[in-house]
Amino acid sequence: MIEVEGLRKSIRNGTRTVDILKGLDFEIPKGQFAAIMGASGSGKSTLLGLLAGLDSPSSGEVRLNGIAISYLPEDKLAQVRGKTIGFVFQSYQLIPTLTALENVLLPYELNVDGSDAKAGQSRARELLASVGLGDRFGHYPVQLSGGEQQRVALARAFILRPPIVLADEPTGNLDSTNGAHVLDLLLNLNRTEGTTLVLVTHDAVLAAYADRRITLRDGLIVSDETVPAGGAAELRQGSAVTEAGAE
């Protein structure tokens, strides 16, 4: 569960202070798929960064599964981040010098004691196979297409079975076929792993798959709609069928 209370974020730009988020309050219950929408500059990515503890707010609080993360010391925050959140970025953000398998394994190596390295490796292989990259373990990011790189990023996001997955425009850099494929995989993994999913997008079509749509404008929530039960789930089911047809 994600709880956001009075969240504000301002940045200094030379002598000027820019208010990016102007006081947000909302909750995302466990297992919900929420889409955060808004135009460029509305504060979506900043909000996502604050939810993930990648940045600290100017005021207000974010709680992940009851843990207030906003003012935790950096190393403690990293620990929470590693164990609680899986991240999918628009531009994949794979480590260029590591292979696909090593990239997926990295959060495991960073956050789990090395005593059970084999378990980590078998989980990484399993995840890579589940996103259709069973034959690409040893490939470096530069040897993979954009869609393949994003699939590696998906596998990486789920390796530690995080209760929350945050995705920042995960299909933004992909063509429509690859975008649909990645989205489908993301939703499938979300469903099978039972995670809470927060997806930032400005794409209404993509947001239509979510259980809930929070729209931001100029740092404020201008709408927060929850899709009636069943609607989004049907769409998601449909997407999988479409995807299967497209392939």
């Binding site: 996502l48 990648l54 620990q79 970025f89 953000q93 959060p107 004691d113 090395g114």
Partner: protein, 860 residues
């Protein structure tokens, strides 16, 4: 808490190194050149010093000598036996004046007898004989070896008999040069070398005879073949002084101040060069690692967003730094050893001296250790910056980009980040530690570290000023400037540009290189003066006042004499009391009370050549008061200082003189052996004997000796030309080696600086691509970079050169060497710095300029 395994950390570190080979090449190169210079210079200079010290020791024929005036007491003998049991070799030398005669001539001649044990003496150097032979093969209980002028005066030849005391001895050979001629007594009369058994048999050593006894000591050789360190010699001297309080203990470094000074200065300079090599290498590494980590910000942010803690990421980059340091260190040591082996071959013709190169494990390990340690130290600040990288960077780059200029950022860091202050202190402490370990000269270590801190502060401040000035200048003139000029200047202060860091690195580099050059220049100049070819090399003893003018005229007329003669009057005297304390109650240090009964006074209106006042003030020419200048060493032994009063007695006159100055002599002039100098009026009317020093062409000293003997047969001529030539050649060899090693260090320094500049080229790739995409030609881009680099070079050059002069001045002052501002060379260095920066910038950017934009973007 989970921690990233070393295996995984090394894997990531190694992969990054492999993927950016080009960039890491410069890091490894910087470390390697620094370590190579360090290992090469240190290794060779240690071998060279060992060889030189051996020659310096030969001037005394021993490491330490102790002149005794009485036989050792049983307790002292026990102490000497204990010393011998520790492996210290010891041999006595007895010197005395006596008469010698021959059956051929009736007149006896006063001779200076020196009894030695030919099996032991000399410990260092050789006694040159004519015809050539080894002393131990020639000097037997029934033979003597004599100076050439004894043969001339007594009309004898080798093989004739000479009567000394009650015994006849066969003259077995002629002594041409004794290694310790300069450290022995300049007694009247030609030299006669006799064996100890011969002396005992001659009956001259009757109780009450005025024989002087000198013990020569040789410390045990070190196992690794390196020179016996000065500290061991000093410790041994102190031990002897305690054991034999009445003895005058001197070590080999005191026999010839010119040579010792040459060695000391060479040591200081070589230390400076080693430090410079190392710190230059470290600067190169610091620059390259800073650039590398800047480019790794994304990776670091990704890892943090995946849950990596700063410590885990630092582990990766720390391991990477260690790997780079080790790689560079090993390569550098290999290069350094090669260079060390090559030096003697390069220098063989110049030095005509065999330098035995000892490959010392210690030098190699120190090189490797210092390389890795400085790499780690200088990478510490960029490594600590990892903690400040916020993972939000991947989502919102613009906010996280550090737009502050370098100085503001640095100040903010210092304010906010105690770790950075700690790192800065650690670097300084580490550097001071390395400097203390590497530097055989504490002064060099101290001045160097302080200079480094000061120059860094000034460079940071001046770079802030220059960059702020440029910003203001551009804001006012903006569009009225030509585009390349505007762009080039703007590049200097644009966010993320490493110009401030580059400025600091370049400034430090220039400072160090030029400091080496300036110090080297002054030291070499001074060494040339101290080994000047016209110093006295022939000394004249026992010239009466009636003979002095005639001797002066004769010397002036000699074609073999190349410099005006230095003449010194000597009045025999004794000391009655010191500061009111009677002589027999005075508290003296290593100065036998008996010696107070026989001191030599001299006069001079001005400071004599080769003598300087180290305390107090020399008197006016027309000084009427009885004042005295005392040699510093004797002042210490007698316990007098400026303001003390000494009462002297000569014949039936008694007078008290106030000590107004303490003097130090260079050991190379007639007045160098004067302990008490007074104004002439103080000694008026007292009986005087003259001593003189002349420089004659070493090959023609014989002519001078013969001419003097013909006109003034009672004047003793002591020829030290041969011994002085040895000293001169050694000092000249030191200057060659200094110049050679300085050139090597400077060359290595330039290479490292060039690689630092080249290392920044990766930052320019994007800029070049954008400019090219907008239609800029290669020439236009090159012009923009030239302006940027030229400004950097000039600013760094000005600050670096000013500080180089300041550091050279302080160091030289400490080394007692005169410093001259070198405007000409400073200006040349300034232009050279700008030219180097621009040229290196061009060369490094050449490949980038030639690349197609898309090619670069794909690489990115």
């Amino acid at each position: 808490m989970a921690s990233l395994s070393y295996r995984s950390a090394i894997k990531i570190a190694a992969r990054e190194m492999r993927s950016s080979r080009g960039k890491f090449f410069f890091v490894v190169l910087s470390v390697a050149i620094g370590v190579a210079a360090l290992t090469g210079v240190r290794g060779f200079s240690s071998s060279f010093r060992a060889t030189l010290l051996l020659r310096a020791r030969s001037i005394m024929a021993a490491d330490v000598s102790a002149r005794m005036f009485e036989q050792p007491t049983p307790e002292q003998q026990k102490g000497l036996d204990a010393i011998a049991a520790e492996g210290v070799e010891m041999t006595p030398i007895t010197e005395l004046l006596s008469m010698a005669s021959s059956p051929k001539t009736l007149d006896p001649l006063l001779v200076s007898i020196k009894a030695v044990d030919p099996a032991m003496y000399p410990f260092y150097g050789t006694v040159e004989l004519a015809p050539a032979a080894a002393l131990k093969n020639v000097l037997k209980p029934d033979t003597v070896v004599v100076a050439d002028d004894l043969l001339v005066r007594l009309h004898l030849k080798v093989g004739d008999e000479l009567k000394i005391g009650t015994r006849q001895f066969r003259i077995a050979s002629v002594v041409v040069n004794e290694p310790d001629r300069l450290s022995g007594n300049f007694a009247a009369g030609p030299r006669v070398l006799i064996s100890r058994e011969g002396l005992d048999a001659s009956g001259l050593l009757a109780p009450g005879s005025h024989a002087g006894q000198r013990y020569l000591f040789k410390l045990p050789a070190r196992r690794d073949g390196s020179a016996i360190p000065d500290s061991a010699v000093s410790a041994f001297s102190e031990r002897l002084e305690k054991l034999l309080p009445e003895a005058r203990v001197i070590d080999y470094r005191e026999t010839n101040p010119a040579l010792t000074r040459g060695l000391d200065r060479a040591t200081s300079l070589l230390s400076l060069m080693s430090l410079v090599a190392l710190v230059l290498g470290a600067i190169g590494v610091g620059m390259a690692m800073r650039a590398h980590l800047q480019q790794r910000l994304d990776t670091i942010a990704i890892m943090k967003s995946l849950g990596a803690r700063s410590g885990q990421i630092m582990k990766i980059y720390l391991l990477q730094t260690l790997l780079l340091g080790l790689l560079g260190g090993v390569l550098g040591v290999a290069l350094g050893v090669g260079v060390q082996m090559a030096f003697p071959h390069f220098l063989a013709k110049l030095l005509q001296m065999q330098t035995e190169v000892h490959l010392q494990a210690q030098t190699v390990l120190i090189g490797l250790g210092a390389g890795v340690l400085t790499t780690l130290l200088f990478t510490l600040p960029p490594l600590l910056d990892i903690r400040g990288v916020r993972p939000i960077l991947i989502l919102r780059r613009a906010v996280e980009e550090n737009d502050d200029p370098f100085v503001t950022a640095a100040l903010r860091k210092l304010r906010k980040n105690l770790a950075q202050i700690g790192a800065a202190l650690l670097i300084l402490a580490g550097l001071a530690g390395i400097a203390a370990t590497l530097s055989d000269s504490a002064t060099v270590g101290k001045v160097f570290s302080l200079g480094l801190v000061a120059v860094l502060a000034v460079l940071v401040a001046s770079s802030a000023l220059v960059l702020a000035g440029l910003r203001r200048f551009l804001e006012r003139t903006r569009l009225s400037l030509p585009s390349p000029m505007r762009h080039g200047l703007a590049n200097l202060y644009r966010p993320g540009n490493p110009s401030a860091a580059l400025l600091a690195a370049l400034g430090l580099g220039v400072m160090q290189i030029m400091a080496v050059y300036f110090v080297q220049q002054s030291v070499v100049r001074e060494l040339h003066i101290s080994s000047a070819p016209n110093l006295p090399n022939v000394f004249l003893i026992d010239i009466t006042p009636d003979e002095i003018n005639g001797v002066r005229t004769l010397i002036k007329a000699q074609p073999s004499v190349t410099a005006p003669a230095e003449m010194m009057p000597v009045v025999s005297s004794r000391i009655i009391d010191i500061d009111g304390v009677p002589a027999n109650q005075a508290r003296l240090k290593n100065f036998p009370k008996r010696m107070l009964q026989s001191v030599s006074l001299t006069w001079s209106a001005d400071l004599p050549p080769g003598t300087s006042a180290v305390a107090g003030k020399w008197w006016q020419k027309d000084e009427k008061q009885p004042v005295v200048a005392v040699s510093q060493r004797d002042a210490e032994r007698l316990g007098v200082k400026v303001g003390s009063h000494i009462t002297f007695a000569a014949q039936d006159q008694r007078f008290t003189a106030k000590v107004v100055a303490l003097t130090k002599a260079d050991g190379q002039h007639a007045y160098s052996r004067a302990s008490f100098i007074l104004p002439q009026t103080a000694l008026a009317g007292l009986p005087v004997v003259w001593y003189g020093g002349v420089h004659a062409d070493p090959a023609r000293v014989g002519e001078l000796q013969r001419a003097l003997y013909r006109a003034y047969p009672t004047v003793t001529v002591i020829n030290v030309a041969q011994a002085l030539e040895t000293v001169r050649s050694v000092v000249i060899q030191i200057t060659y080696v200094i110049q050679f090693l300085a050139a090597f260090s400077i060359f290595a320094g330039i290479l490292i600086l060039a690689s630092s500049i080249a290392g920044t080229r990766y930052r320019r790739i994007k800029e070049v691509v954008v400019l090219k995409t907008l239609g800029a030609t290669r020439r236009q881009i090159a012009t923009i970079f030239s302006i940027e680099f030229a400004v950097l070079g000039l600013v760094a050059g000005v600050v670096g050169i000013i500080f180089a002069n300041v550091i050279a001045k302080v160091l030289l002052h400490r080394m007692d060497v005169v410093f001259h501002w070198q405007w000409g060379w400073s200006f040349v260095a300034l232009l050279a710095t700008a030219a180097l920066t621009v040229t290196t910038g061009w060369v490094a950017s050449h490949r980038i300029l030639g690349q197609k934009p898309l090619e670069v973007l794909r690489d990115e």
